[in-house]
Symmetry: D3
Subunit: 237 residues, 6 copies
């Protein structure tokens, strides 16, 4: 039995609220159990230096946790500078969303995905990617409305979920309590058609065997399918 | 007529939602029109160096705006460092709340008020103070429950509101559109009993006369009274 | 009786020495009792990005205290970065001086007012504004001489003074000893014609009533009048 | 055929030179083709704050590239601060080495693995881990000699290798040219006994199927086995 | 003939005003022509970590130029961080003054010499050392008065002067105009008894011969003798 | 007798390996006893702002020590920012190499000399200059090959050596042990023809006499001559 009574292959309750942020071109408040992330998408007429003159666009992400999103208060990044974990997560979110986006079709524009965890109970990076996909869809729809682009530049939806080994059992969608005592922790980003975009598995306490890897990937696939179904409902696609 | 159709002495619609942040000792999501600020209060067993050994406690505040809280995206403080405006606001919020708190009675503990603007349409600093008062009450109630302190260390509620001169007229509770073209901008922090805690008036385009100051202070008093009435309802005091 | 024997409505002895800094376009060493601030004005052929192409100019200020200007040595801003108080003061000084300056008439030029406290006994921000007005006049005279502008862009002189409540009495022009134990501290920036440019009042220990505010504003008016008289003498206007 | 003429499952020529750094407790200059990383291990009598009083030790890593290690000169981290990639790599190296180390047996000591790429042609993070394992062994041997610990705290050697998809083919140990145009890039850290410590796969241009993942993991296993054989020779274990 | 009409071996007019800073334990406003440096000495009951528990004290220095001390305005160090030149100068000033101070006799105390150039026309680092010696004497006298130490810990006065090659001629005490076009620039710190504490000569445009070095050292010796004579008069020793 | 058995006027064994860094336009691994510095020269088509439009080029240097180059581990500059010593050294290296380079003939290009101490036993700044001269020659040869410039812009080789007073004796080329207990420490940069480029002597514990300075300069001359002979052999000039 898991700490919150779920079955090993059971996700936490999930909701995705589109348009939560009134001023952003796209936004989504995604709740995965007690983990709440506000994701916004901003469209700007600029690209990073390495894309200038190429006609191609860019998708990037930034991530932060409110200082009191968790059980303890954390110092703001503003006062200590962004730390390694923050940098790692925002690189991951940007990379994942770019993998399903046709950047060439955007023109020289950047979409910035801001992921701010209002409340954090494990899995904020996965929620950022899953909710980021919704916000990105909406920002692209706004661009289509404004005649900036002709058609949706996302090839297919994608979502992310964590799997891990907790008390010698493979489990899906770890909460903070499970995550902080897991023997192995893995984040999987997968497309609606079941292809991998990112696989990041880490042995926290002891190395794991190939069969364990296989079972964790199966669990992840199940979770991703549920998330994509929900995304399709929310987006009406 | 004001841009959003309000009378000169009319506040925007206001709601205050206590306990929005599950893990914090106190919290309030305050909405003043389209300005939404999430305020949390965190109790920690530490004090700044200058209070060590005095037996007295401290109340401090930090402030930030989500990068896409407004009509334009702003760079995160994490990447550019906190700027002058941020510093000024968080100093103001902390100072205001300390003015109604009996710090000596707290023991060597710090309460940190985190003010994060999820959406910004003018008046985030005033909303931070008004909502911060609620979060602080709740954090102190939590401390009373934990037997850390005996009685509520807040002498009386306090709230903050902006007044200004827009199109040659004194107006109450300016939104972003009014604020950015106001001739004079003033923030007033006042207690339930009508005493001043902070008066900050700035002539943005041309100096103002003493009578104008008087009329602005009257408007502020009216606004504060409405805010305090609402605070009492929400807190049940 | 005040710590240094002054009457409640008595300013400290004041001198303003024009042209103290040989190389600057304008400068003033202002002494308010034991508070000595060296203010320089620098004219440069550049404007901040938001003014480029508008034909308008800018006035800005920077502020610092020498590390051993006071009774204790303070760390240099160069090693810890500018702090909140520094940011607040330099924003105030710039804002105040812009309020009496016709920025449009300057052309795309910036005048930077550097305020460096050589010795600090309370009231350095007010001395910076009062002395800054002198330095700015001189820099504008230099610009007129160089045919950069046709006429003086300052509408009228302005000055600043602190008032506060010390030992239950409203007092004018607080020194450091009074300032650090004042119940209320207020800085007022006012023009020669008696209009407000900035009013910043803070209840340091307990909230203050409307009548108290009125009495403090009257004291401030008296002090400002003395300062403006002195400015006129020094400038010969 | 690969750019440098290797077979798809062929590693670049590898050498590991123990004791390259005269003063460090352990060190290794590892060369993987034209990628040369100098790794040192430093033993210090201190632990991070969260381990104080626990009796347990720590292994951590830092990573940097000399500014002219590659075909272009890069700015030093010293002048721009450590960037996201640097942070990500040093977190990975530390985590990987901790997974095979019995930290409890170290006493309150920290071993810091410094990885400095003298020359970079792809795969510096993998070389850092593989060479770091050698340096760590030597540092622990030094600790045994000094009677700080009784026996080798490493459970088994571990190594790291990159695999990827280049020109529609799975390839082992990518050089810079392959890496920068690979469709998928994966880093695998594995122990001598064939268990996973870290699996990080990223679809750079398009998502990849589960079978592709399987083939890449097989290639990685082959490469790791060769690396571990070499480590055992060099260490004489 | 030199730009300001001096003979090659002639110093600029020099004054040293003791006690310029009311609150510091020692201070000196030194004017060397148009170069004016305010130097203060602060005594504090602390030492750097490497001296803790040794019973020995420390003398250190910090240096800065007011932004408008020269013909052009320079950005404040507070906003760009201390630069290489600043670091180099303050290390030099501290090192020079320590060379004539018996640090062991100070007890665990630090004297910080703050050198702030109010006006700069070349030679600020030399003026900082020469004036710093005065401020240090006065701070030590204050310590003797307070019974912190028994006798003057300075073995003999020391002073600093610049020499250089300007228009093919060796000259003493270069002003800014000479300094910025000098072929060679040398700073010499020497004791009253004619011993070297620091010799720093730099060929700015072309290397210089041994005989030239000899002639520059002779000029420096002459200048130092004049400075020490003045120091003795000012200090009354 | 010196700690490592050398005669007072004896240099440590020296080797210079050209072309150690495969990708740089010029490079040299210089070993002076146990001090090993890797120097690379990078040619870039850019100049600092003050040279834009002048047609002239620039030579600059950066310096760093690997964290475990010495007997103790030092923190990386990347995490604490470059310190005073680092700044001082890289300014010295750049200045010295510019003194023998015809910058006008380079066109608007910058050559950056990166000096990274792999191992440090005293004298890293001198080794950086001596090895930097080799790397610079090679970078200029590369530019001649590429037809960027017509002829070698270096007027003559130059080298650097330290001299000092250790146990009351003048010694040449101090190692770390000598350097850290030397009474006086001097770095001399001299050209092949015996002219001075830089003379930096510092009395670490007590001031030194003019005769001592003379004897140290003679020792330095002897060392420089040996270094230049070696440079000529290595470069084949």
């Amino acid at each position: 039995m898991r700490p919150d009574g779920r079955a090993p292959d059971q996700m936490r309750p999930i909701t995705m609220e589109r348009g939560f942020a009134k001023y952003a071109e796209g936004s989504c408040l995604i709740k995965v159990g007690e983990t709440h992330v506000l994701v916004t998408a901003t469209v700007e007429e600029r690209v990073p230096p390495f894309l200038k003159g190429t006609g191609s666009g860019w998708v990037t992400a930034e991530y932060s946790m409110l200082p009191r999103s968790g059980k303890q208060r954390n110092q703001r990044d503003a006062f200590r500078g962004p730390n390694g974990r923050t940098m790692e997560i925002q690189r991951l979110v940007g990379r994942a969303l770019r993998a399903v986006t046709n950047l060439e079709s955007l023109g020289e524009r950047t979409v910035t995905i801001d992921c701010d965890a209002l409340q954090a109970d494990g899995g904020t990076r996965c929620a950022s990617i899953t909710g980021g996909c919704i916000a990105l869809y909406d920002a692209f729809s706004w661009m289509i409305d404004k005649k900036m682009i002709r058609k949706m530049p996302i090839s297919e939806p994608l979502a992310a979920v964590s799997v891990g080994i907790h008390r010698n059992q493979e489990v899906l969608d770890l909460n903070y309590e499970e995550d902080s005592s897991a023997a192995t922790d893995m984040n999987v980003v997968m497309t609606a058609s079941g292809k991998f975009v990112e696989v990041q598995g880490t042995a926290e306490s002891e190395p794991f065997a190939a069969e364990t890897l296989g079972r964790m990937l199966s669990l992840a696939k199940k979770g991703i399918e549920e998330l994509v179904t929900l995304q399709r409902q929310v987006l009406g696609i």
